[in-house]
Symmetry: C2
Subunit: 106 residues, 2 copies
Amino acid sequence: MRRDIFQAIADPTRRAIITLIALQAMTPNAIADNFHTTRQSVSKHLRILTECELVKQEQQGREIYYTLEIKKLKEIDKWLEQFRKIWETRFNQLDKVLLTIKKQKK
Amino acid sequence: MRRDIFQAIADPTRRAIITLIALQAMTPNAIADNFHTTRQSVSKHLRILTECELVKQEQQGREIYYTLEIKKLKEIDKWLEQFRKIWETRFNQLDKVLLTIKKQKK
DNA sequence: TACATTTGCAACCGATTGGTTTCTCAAATA
DNA sequence: TATTTGAGAAACCAATCGGTTGCAAATGTA
């Protein structure tokens, strides 16, 4: 049972759930209303999201509200960091090239 | 055959390949040397990465060098954008709370 | 108390995944 | 020319995935 954040966001439905509950907590039933699938299927997705701590439960009577743990998404941001450095460098190099061409035209 | 970038980076071996070839192009054999798996398995991963345009091939004799298409990784960055706004807002709100507490102590 | 609602969980199913083995093809080398 | 090397493609396999159905537990309501 490999359960990491990258595998969690691989599924388009799970990404949609994340976007959906980003602004306000929602119950499984309310979430399922937004998709062409069953509540149970959403429930399974929520379990996966919970297992990798992307989502948190808040029991309220018999209803369970799911909220997004936004800070967990920063792990993806952190992984991208190493490439961000590279793509910025490459753009800088491109800038230099353009600058050189500009100067030569003068 | 759903082939999107999120599914591509879901596999840890593929993420490692991406990191490996980020700085310099490499052949399948050279890549495979870095993992406890066969060349054929790496080849399959490279095919998936190629299909979603995360990686580009450069034939050189009988060797094929694979390079990373860093700009494709920006699609993930783009998806994160919507949440970045939220997490910055939440931190700002937290700042306000802390500021209020500070003022009350005065 | 009896019934309805909300939810999680287990069992099952077809499709997909990641890996291995085998095969073929093209390029380099003896 | 014969052999070795680098690589992709196909066939196969066990494991996992996403979805459905059915059931049980807990909470709310008549």
